[in-house]
């Protein structure tokens, strides 16, 4: 990707988890790093997230989940991304994600898993690399 167009990132909170500190901190960090960020707010269904990604024509979908429901929520989102032909988006996730679940998430098509404790610079660098910025 090149030119003046900013890379667009959707930060989404799927399911019922209300812990939004991490998602918002990452959103602020991405804006500081020069990305355009759209934040969904809390309690979005997988379909609402897919539609937000489509309607805003984002390059990256970032999920924040701290409730432990990441596998069912990501499986449901995968179906929605397929339904709306959005599987080409870079898909990353952050939150309380146990190591043993990383492989299953990567299998679903998630490219980056950022556990609690991940550094903002790491996340920014990863998204830059994946979007070829």
């Amino acid at each position: 990707m090149s030119g003046n167009k900013k890379i667009k990132v959707l930060i989404a909170k799927p399911g019922l988890d209300g812990h939004d500190v991490g998602g918002k901190v990452v959103a602020r960090a991405l804006v500081e790093a020069g990305f355009e960020v759209i934040y969904t707010g809390l309690r979005k269904s997988p379909e609402e997230i897919a539609l937000a990604a489509r309607d805003n024509d984002v390059d990256v979908i970032g999920l924040s989940i701290l409730s432990g429901s990441h596998i069912p929520l990501c499986s449901a989102l995968k179906s929605q991304l397929e339904k709306y032909q959005l599987t080409n988006k870079v898909w990353v996730i952050g939150g309380n994600i146990p190591k043993e679940d990383h492989a299953s998430l990567l299998e679903l098509g998630i490219e980056g898993v950022f556990n609690t404790g991940a550094k903002l610079d790491e996340i920014v660098a990863f998204i830059r690399e994946k979007t070829g910025e």
């Binding site: 930060i11 988890d17 209300g18 432990g68 146990p98 404790g117």
Partner: protein, 539 residues
């Protein structure tokens, strides 16, 4: 002190400069005068309660140990409750799953994958009956950590007590029920701000009349702090929120002394030791002054800052998790030196999972060691009179007053929360903190200093059992078949009538839960009348 040595400048997290030495001059210069209190501090058990709300404090009775727990369904949670009581817990602190917290039944499509995940699933009174089966709720006080659907959970809890023959006039216990802080952090809001505050006031008014020893609200600076606020802001915003509930109840014609004495608070304990202790001493004194001067309360109990000081989740780290056991011990020490009525400690594995029995036991033992071995219950407010502690207490109070005045000048806490302004302020602080953590200017052991390179440790994960969720849905369906559905329809119609008018909704909610209406059914009526909260989406 050697004048040749240049000393670095340090601030605490609240932005107050910390000097290398304090003397009586600092205490005098920072003193906040209060009529009738010669030193501005007073004695324990006496206004303005700087040194504690009781005269003998822990010498008479140690703090209540109340670990936070709940997972799966009511049977699983009941078993863990009994384990905690066996290990010496003197109270219970109940965790509910997210569907329950958001007012959804376990068979709701939005509940998929979330049933019983972060707490216990409750759909109907049946579940609440099972959860407390065999537990002596007269002597083990129960705290319900729930907000959006708190009115329903209070009603269920009171209904269980009634069914078991307890006189509600003697029933003690607490519900979190602080919806305003949910908009700032934690996020389990359901209805718009006005309707939510009305519901909170309904529970306060109802309990004042029917269950006068029950605490229907525990205002949580705790989660505002977890979301990024400084310790001073935690207290100041918490007090602004408590005032908002008071103001709403006063509109109903109650006298301040009829309900203020049951107000409870929940504050956080992570951070620097002296800043935390002085935060609590200052907060206790400021709250007493507010209730006495602004609200003209006469009963000293109305002025008490009764609190659970606990948690410390944001202070714990996923790196080198065993270090969290040590942090937990210091946090418990902070609580003990601060005069908390109740203490709950986050467990060392809590950054990973629902705590194991072993981790819960270590947290309980941590508190028991302080009580039994360390002499922490012998003397009231042992740090009083320290030049540093008294100066910092004064300075923290002055800062809390300043932040509260700022909120009032900008239109008040209801307006600022409705517009998302407190949320934005707190989230900005969280981002600043993260940057300081990453550039190393805020030191965190195992995170940005003293790393071992192998920070991930094997923590035993709490298993999520899909069968529990299926069992929960089956029980909900069975209850719906067995109950008198005409009675449910009639109870829900009464609730709708109360909600559409201006009557207190609690009697109708009590009627609905006793007819075994589900959380989702009750919430559907209220959402239909009030609508849903429209979150100001910003970061």
């Amino acid at each position: 002190m050697n004048k040749q040595v240049k000393v670095d400048v340090r601030w605490n997290e609240s932005g107050i400069e910390i000097k290398p030495l304090y003397t009586a001059d600092d205490v005098a210069a920072s003193r906040i005068d209060e009529p009738g209190i010669s030193d501005g501090v007073g004695l324990p058990g006496e206004y303005p309660f700087t040194r504690g709300i009781h005269d003998l404090m822990y010498r008479k009775r140690p703090w209540t140990m109340r670990q936070y727990t709940g997972f799966g369904n009511a049977e699983d949670t009941n078993a863990r409750f009994k384990y905690l009581i066996e290990t010496g817990n003197t109270g219970l602190n109940v965790a509910f799953d997210l569907p329950t917290q958001c007012g959804l039944d376990s068979d709701d499509p939005m509940a998929a994958g979330e049933v019983g995940r972060v707490g216990m699933a409750i759909d109907t009174l049946k579940d609440m009956e099972i959860a407390f089966d065999g537990i002596d709720i007269e002597n083990v006080t129960v705290s319900l950590t729930i907000n959006g659907s708190a009115a329903i959970m209070i009603a269920m809890y009171l209904a269980v007590a009634e069914k078991r023959g307890f006189d509600l006039k003697n029933l003690r216990g607490t519900c979190q029920n602080d919806i305003l802080k949910e908009y700032v952090g934690r996020g389990t809001w359901i209805y718009p701000v006005d309707a939510s505050v009305r519901l909170v006031a309904d529970t306060m008014e109802y309990c004042a009349r029917e269950a006068p020893l029950y605490s229907p609200v525990s205002v949580c600076g705790y989660h505002i702090r977890e979301s990024g606020a400084t310790p001073v802001e935690e207290m100041a915003y918490g007090f602004c929120i408590a005032r908002a509930y008071f103001d709403e109840v006063l509109k109903r014609g109650l006298d301040i002394d009829e309900f203020a004495y049951r107000m409870s608070f929940n504050f956080n304990i992570f951070g620097q030791l002296f800043e935390q202790i002085c935060k609590f001493r200052a907060g206790r004194r400021l709250w007493a002054k507010i209730v006495r001067h602004e609200y003209s309360a006469k009963n000293p109990k109305s002025m008490w800052l009764r609190m659970i000081a606990g948690g410390g989740g944001s202070g714990l780290t996923i790196e080198q998790p065993e270090n969290n056991i040590v942090r937990g011990a210091y946090y418990a020490l902070i609580s003990a030196l601060s005069g908390a009525q109740t203490v709950a400690l986050c467990c060392y594995d809590e950054a990973y999972t629902i705590p194991s029995e072993k981790a819960q036991r270590i947290s309980t033992r941590t508190m028991q060691i302080l009580i039994e071995e360390m002499g922490l219950t012998d003397t009231v407010d042992p740090l009083a009179g320290s030049h540093y502690v008294e100066t910092l207490t004064n300075q923290m109070e002055a800062e809390m007053v300043r932040v509260m005045e700022e909120v009032d000048a900008e239109g008040g806490i209801l307006k600022l929360i409705s517009e998302g302004k407190i949320q934005a302020r707190v989230s900005k602080r969280a981002h600043e903190h993260q940057k300081r953590l990453e550039d190393g200017s805020f030191r965190k052991v195992g995170v940005n200093c003293f790393e071992t390179g192998q920070e991930d440790h094997a923590v035993e994960m709490h298993p999520y059992k899909r069968e529990d969720a299926d069992k929960q849905v089956a029980r909900l369906q069975a209850v719906k078949t067995e109950r008198d559905n005409d009675a449910v329809t009639a109870a829900l119609a009464s609730l709708r009538q109360a909600a559409e008018g201006s009557d207190n909704m609690m009697p109708a909610i009590m009627g609905a839960v006793k007819a075994y209406a589900s959380v989702g059914e009750i919430n559907a009526v209220l959402t239909d009348v009030f609508g849903k909260y429209n979150e100001p989406v910003m970061f």
